[in-house]
């Protein structure tokens, strides 16, 4: 193709006009329009939970005219990471889990909140101490808990009554109950398990606390803590060994989907489980005929009574947000008594604020108080949130799997985790 000089001039003018238009449009998009400051809240929830979030966003937008929030349901961790890695992200506030805070804070991708919270009258002392501890890094708070979760012992009243078993209050009673409630046929096939494990990692780490253990001592992984090893050994001796790891795996592979009508706790295949407060909302909807109860997890001593694990759903503001102050205003609304109550009720989660522990707002949820009251316990623990948390929890899960499958001893498996920890990410 050969352009004449006139043609080249015309082409030059066209390119210049395009460039000028692009500059003008860029300028337009950067300018703040009149009216409320617009921010985006990208959340991991979907379905009915997303509907509840949208209702809370609508309430906030109607309550004031300074900030307008647009909610986006995006249940994809990788998309969240991609946005966090960009110079200009796609959202101004989002949610995640407490165990990621240390890793993200160390990389500078989430904003410290201390000044923003002070400016909006949010007092961190209002929240469960274990949750704030998990959400802090290097002396600063990087996320706020929007909801927390504790774990307690749920039991099927009908099955306990049939077996003549009282609700266990000590570890020995729990061991006896598991034995009495586990049913095995002559060929070794399990038909009912005394203690099921919706999440083996959560069950065993929680039992570790009930034995007086600690998974993170002095800011470093401490998998070989003697009480941790004892807890894992206890679980193996009382749940796995009596039925055999192979038979147990086969039994568990045939149980129904978690929290569905075929959930093994709802169908009577698991007589007891250690699980979180969301069950109190799920059971009336999914298994309304189930006669169930919930109690504190037994501990090895009275000093360790009411031991449980706390996990945290968090809200954070990314460092690349251009609207941090506006996002902080919305954050303050979400964690206010009104916002936190609406949020926790909608999702069936525990409120993170201690002031709501005795709230009558939760009276309608059956047996919710057993989980709620645990927030005030001195023996509530949270796994630390550090740059290495993802690797550590993966390694712990693999170690538990080795022990439960009978291919390793608790001591050897947890020793291996300790050995791996030297290669963990440090920032």
């Amino acid at each position: 193709m050969h352009l004449t000089s006139a043609g080249r001039r015309r082409l030059g003018v066209a390119v210049g006009a395009l460039a000028a238009s692009a500059l003008v449009l860029t300028g337009c998009s950067a300018a703040e329009p009149d009216g409320p400051e617009k921010i985006t809240f990208s959340y991991l929830w979907g379905g009915a939970e997303a509907d509840a979030i949208e209702a809370i966003i609508a309430d906030f937008n109607a309550s004031q005219d300074e900030v307008e929030v647009t909610g986006i349901s995006s249940p994809d961790f990788q998309k969240q990471l991609t946005s966090l890695s960009a110079s200009q992200g796609s959202f101004d506030i989002s949610d995640h889990f407490g165990n990621a805070v240390g890793s993200w804070a160390s990389k500078g991708i989430i904003a410290p909140l201390d000044d923003l919270l002070a400016a909006n009258g949010v007092d961190p002392a209002d929240f469960a101490p274990a949750s704030i501890e998990q959400l802090s890094y290097d002396g600063k708070i990087y996320s706020l808990p929007i909801a927390v979760h504790t774990f307690q012992l749920l039991y099927n009243k009908t099955l306990l009554a049939e077996a003549g078993v009282e609700v266990p209050t000590t570890m020995d009673e729990l061991a006896d109950a598991i034995a009495a409630l586990t049913k095995v046929e002559a060929d070794g096939t399990i038909t009912q398990l005394g203690l099921g494990d919706p999440s083996p990692s959560t069950t065993i780490t929680t039992l570790g606390y009930a034995f007086g253990g600690d998974w993170d001592a002095d800011g470093a992984p401490s998998p070989t803590n003697a009480a941790n090893v004892e807890a894992l050994q206890w679980y193996y001796d009382n749940v796995v060994a009596p039925v055999g790891s192979g038979k147990l795996a086969a039994f568990k592979s045939g149980v129904g989907e978690y929290m569905s009508p075929e959930d093994p706790f709802y169908t009577g295949k698991y007589a007891m489980v250690i699980d979180g407060e969301w069950r109190a909302v799920n059971i009336p909807n999914t298994a309304p005929d189930l006669d169930w109860g919930v109690t504190a997890i037994p501990a090895v001593s009275s000093a360790l009574a009411d031991s449980t694990q706390l996990t945290v759903s968090t809200l954070f503001i990314p460092s690349n947000s251009k609207h941090k102050e506006a996002a902080a205003k919305f954050l303050a609304y979400l964690v206010s008594d009104e916002g936190a109550t609406a949020f926790s009720l909608a999702l069936g989660n525990l409120p993170a604020k201690l002031s709501l522990v005795g709230s009558s707002a939760y009276d309608g949820i059956p047996q919710f108080s057993v989980w709620l009251d645990a927030l005030a316990s001195d023996n509530v623990h949270a796994l630390s949130s550090a740059p290495y948390s993802a690797e550590y929890s993966t390694d712990l899960g693999l170690a538990f799997d080795e022990v439960l499958s009978g291919t390793s001893t608790p001591e050897a498996a947890l020793q291996k985790v300790a050995g791996n920890s030297s290669n963990y990410a440090t920032e």
């Binding site: 193709m1 890793s103 990389k107 592979s253 499958s405 291919t407 990410a425 920032e427």
Partner: protein, 299 residues
């Protein structure tokens, strides 16, 4: 400007869309991953140069070896099975029977089912108690295994799920079968050749270039296998599972976990380069060996 120079510029201008796309989306990422493989890089902070540490650390990383072993086991079982089943299936689809087009469509159907949908479908199909597979096995008196809970049965489960989509390979073989000259079969029949002799001396040599292509394509697919084991081993959304005894942890899954769960981009990049070199080495061996078993009509 000379005509030659103008022509060269015009040629470059026409090639520019590809060259720019190749540079931005392929050449630069490949070069960047090579650089990052010698660094400690977490995606968000400037990479620190660590020399060959990422490569030497693999030698002592137990999970690296588990993932590599699992992947190689899947490859050496999955690739031959894919070839054999596809070739046998193509022969069956080539039989002049009533409803032949329908059968061809049916075997290809799984290939157009989204792999995630297929993955969740197979999780239920392979369920020890409620799954169809064990149900059908029980009809013939076989006590089905715990496909997804017994370490020794997870790899057969992954291969089984992968073979479900073998229809694509089968269709290519079917097209190749159509190209086998009929007169060769007629001549062989006149000479009294039986079906095995005809397959060995006519069909197999004629299909061998297609087989070489299929072996290499399937080999690369199995060495990179991710979606099927990821879905079968998944215990929680967004998390990488590994299956019982880490028996479903493949190389690509462990690479993904290092990159996007542990944010160890440097180590993941080094793993990617090692996988590339392994793939290249095996492909070269197959290509060299193909001189012995691939029939090239032009030679």
């Amino acid at each position: 400007m000379t005509v030659r120079r103008r022509q060269a510029l015009a040629g470059l201008a026409f090639a520019a869309p590809f060259l720019i796309g190749f540079g931005i989306f392929i050449a630069y990422p490949v070069a960047a991953s090579g650089f990052y493989s010698f660094t400690d890089f977490n995606l968000f902070q400037a990479p620190d140069f660590v020399g060959v540490d990422n490569y030497t650390r693999m030698a002592g990383d137990e999970r690296f070896w588990i993932a590599l072993t699992n992947t190689l086991l899947l490859t050496v079982t999955g690739v031959p099975l894919s070839i054999v089943i596809a070739m046998a299936g193509a022969h069956l689809l080539n039989l002049p029977v009533r409803g032949q087009p329908l059968f061809r469509a049916l075997v290809y159907l799984p290939s157009i089912v989204p792999v995630v949908v297929g993955g969740y479908l197979w999780r239920w199909m392979l369920n020890t108690e409620y799954g169809f597979i064990n149900h059908f096995l029980s009809l013939v008196g076989i006590d089905g295994p715990g496909w997804l809970v017994e370490p020794e049965w997870t790899k057969p489960a992954i291969v089984l799920m992968s073979l479900w989509t073998v229809g694509g390979t089968m269709i290519i073989y079917l097209a190749a079968l159509k190209d086998v000259p009929r007169d060769l079969y007629e001549a062989a029949a006149i000479d009294g050749a039986n079906w095995w002799t005809r397959f060995r001396h006519i069909t197999w040599p004629t299909l061998s270039p297609v087989t070489l292509f299929q072996v290499i394509v399937n080999l690369i697919a199995y060495l990179q296998i991710f979606t099927q084991p990821y879905l079968l081993a998944q215990t929680r959304l967004n998390n990488v599972g590994a299956g019982p005894g880490q028996s479903m942890l493949t190389y690509a899954m462990y690479l993904f976990q290092n990159a996007f769960s542990f944010l160890k981009m440097g180590y993941a990049s080094a793993m990617a380069w090692v996988l590339f070199l392994i793939t290249l080495a095996i492909t070269i061996v197959i290509l060299v060996s193909s001189r012995r078993w691939v029939h090239d009509g032009s030679r």
